[in-house]
């Protein structure tokens, strides 16, 4: 932040490749990792569960962000991918194949095929039409899942036993906390690296202008499909995690509103930014609990009547405000605040305003 006159200079390839480039950031990241590691010692089960939920949402949001934020392909069917993953796992467990070593690869496979199928129309369709196609897909997947549930689960849903690996049984708040946080971190690392790889740059080129992307030699069809497949594989795996984590799978958990929530996460967080997806996921996950506490604090009697519409309304209002006034999302706000402090007393960064 010091070199105001001429921007940053990186003097080695290692420095150019590094994900964490300044000492301050290294220290901050280290502190965050330590905090997350020791959190179970101090926090209650409720807090741990909240963090787990946010981490779970972050996995889905990161996957959607690759598709919508990086590759620019609008998907209103994210809940459909989740449902496909969860119900694949449920179907396998129902047939006695309970080992995650079987269910997870199978789920990934189903997710990949579904992503390929849903991605096909993106070769012909754009924008609104594509969004409609993904929305229709969402309803078709939910119909299939509902049919399966009606046939097998006795109409209420499927119970999933906790996953076992060898002699190790995965259950309890703390175990799931570590698992979800670690997995979310892994997906984050993957996405950050993907962003700067050939695929990520190809996706961004297609998002910005597909004709130009094709003219510099990017195979548009292949990369569009790969974005769909990548996103749906990760989301389907998240769906399998959902099944194992909750221990229960039912169609009601995957309505259209869930897809809207995921879109809200990447919009509120900041479209196209991995950090934004994580921030947005945390924000959207925690918002209902904050409002719960607020409404209960203001008037405990009225709480039971007003909590639901208040949550719903605040969610809609925030999403609308971000869309109208802050299209860059939380990440945009964060960058502005950071730059304001870093540059004070000046107002603008000299040149090359990067990340």
């Amino acid at each position: 932040m010091a070199a105001l006159g001429g921007g940053y200079f990186k003097t080695s390839y290692e420095a150019d490749l590094a994900l964490v480039d300044t000492r301050l950031r290294r220290v901050a990241l280290g502190a965050l990792v330590v905090a997350l590691l020791v959190l179970p010692r101090f926090a209650s089960g409720f807090v741990l569960d909240l963090v787990s939920q946010a981490a779970f949402a972050a996995i889905g949001a990161l996957a959607l962000n690759v598709l919508t934020g990086l590759a620019g392909q609008i998907s209103l069917g994210h809940a459909g991918f989740l449902a496909a993953g969860a119900f694949t796992t449920a179907a396998l467990v129902e047939r006695g194949l309970v080992s995650p070593l079987v269910t997870l690869p199978a789920t990934a496979l189903v997710g990949g095929v579904l992503g390929l199928v849903v991605g096909m129309p993106s070769l012909r369709l754009k924008g609104l039409y594509l969004a409609l196609g993904t929305l229709a897909m969402h309803h078709v997947v939910l119909y299939a899942a509902g049919e399966m549930q009606a046939r097998a689960g006795g109409n209420t849903g499927f119970t999933i036993p906790p996953p076992r690996l060898g002699g190790l049984v995965f259950r309890g708040t703390v175990a799931w906390y570590y698992a979800l946080v670690v997995l979310a971190a892994l997906v984050l690392l993957l996405v950050v690296n993907l962003q700067r790889s050939r695929a990520g740059r190809a996706w961004m080129a297609i998002r910005d202008r597909d004709v130009a992307a094709a003219s510099v030699g990017i195979d548009v069809a292949r990369y569009k499909l790969s974005a769909f497949v990548w996103s749906s594989v990760v989301t389907a795996l998240a769906g399998a995690l959902f099944a194992y984590h909750r221990g229960f799978v039912s169609v009601e958990a995957f309505g259209f509103f869930v897809a809207v929530e995921y879109i809200a996460m990447i919009i509120i967080g900041g479209l196209g930014s991995a950090l934004g997806a994580v921030l947005g996921a945390a924000f959207v996950t925690l918002l209902p609990y904050v409002i719960d506490a607020l409404v209960a604090g203001v008037s405990p009697d009225a709480a039971q009547y007003y909590v639901f519409p208040a949550k719903f309304g605040a969610f809609g209002l925030l999403m609308a405000l971000f869309l109208l006034f802050e299209p860059l999302g939380l990440v945009g706000i964060w960058r502005r605040v950071r730059n304001w402090f870093a540059l004070w007393p000046f107002r603008h960064r000299p040149l090359r305003a990067s990340s």
Binding site: P121, A136, V140, E147, V260, M319
Partner: protein, 291 residues
């Protein structure tokens, strides 16, 4: 069979009113209004409120509720859609999603989520009517068909004959050219939104009188957008045949297939249409691009 035909006609009327709402808005703002279903719900609750204010006076309550619906459309355009001009289409569509969420939250806050029946306050009844061929429909089923026919007839006369209607068609065709010819396209677009919300509200008032009124009626709207796409997103004329088609598929799939299919059959129509003819039966073709 006569019953299936009658049901198809009734469902098609509901879908046609909602589909007209989608197309009117699409022609004005190039946006798919995913809150159309919640505008339907809102129309129902407007009727519930006006009927409670003027009990036993449907002559007063019905026009007032319709006017409130139309006014909502204008407000939505001015407050939400005009600021979104120039933003990506996706963002504008998401704004309509949030509008739907806000409307639903507001409805639950004001009216709670109890199931209501506005008909009780209006002082009207809804007796079943036998038709030729042994089919039976309710009175408000007939009202729905009549309202759809009347709305479309009035809309076509308005668009074909009146100067304002011709301006609206011009602005829907190419807003920039229209504005250069001196057409106040903001006014025209606001009117489009008003008409769209009016159509949705009308459908909602009749549906809620006929069946029931609850905040989750909005899902009807999601199904009806298949109609708009099948007919062609920018084609008002396509709405009627598309509504008949989608309703026929839905009724047939329930009658001869699986009742669960009724929720998904409009979307299957939509998927088939996207694969075969993405611009719809009567839509403008050049809006598509290929890779």
């Amino acid at each position: 069979m006569a019953q299936a035909l009658a049901t198809t006609l009734v469902v098609a009327s509901l879908y046609a009113l909602l589909g007209a709402g989608y197309v009117l808005v699409y022609r004005a703002s190039r946006v798919l209004n995913l809150a159309q279903g919640d505008l339907l719900t809102l129309g129902g609750y407007f009727l519930f409120a006006t009927a409670a204010t003027f009990p036993g006076a449907p002559v007063l309550a019905l026009p007032l509720a319709a006017a409130l619906s139309a006014l909502t459309g204008v407000l939505v355009y001015v407050a939400l859609m005009r600021p979104m001009a120039g933003h990506p289409v996706f963002a504008a569509v998401l704004v309509t999603v949030t509008l739907g969420i806000l409307l639903r939250a507001a409805i639950v806050l004001v009216f709670t989520d109890r199931t209501r029946h506005p008909l009780q306050n209006l002082g009207l009844s809804n007796p079943p009517r036998p038709l030729a061929g042994g089919a039976v429909v309710s009175t408000f089923d007939l009202v729905m068909v009549g309202a759809a026919v009347a709305f479309f007839a009035a809309l076509f006369v308005f668009l074909k004959v009146s100067p304002l209607g011709i301006r609206m068609r011009a602005a829907g065709e190419r807003a920039l050219l229209a504005s250069q010819r001196g057409i106040n396209f903001h006014g025209v677009f606001a009117l489009s939104w008003a008409l769209s919300a009016f159509a949705g509200g009308l459908a909602g008032m009749i549906y809620s009188s006929n069946v029931r009124l609850e905040p989750s009626l909005g899902i009807l709207g999601l199904r009806a957008f298949a109609v708009a796409l099948v007919g062609g997103l920018d084609s008002l004329g396509g709405v009627v045949p598309a509504a008949l088609l989608v309703a026929a598929v839905e009724v047939a799939s329930v009658r001869w297939g699986n009742p669960l299919l009724s929720d998904v059959s409009p979307f299957l129509c939509l998927l088939v249409m996207l694969l075969v003819r993405p611009w719809g039966l009567f839509g403008t073709k050049e809006e598509l691009e290929r890779v």
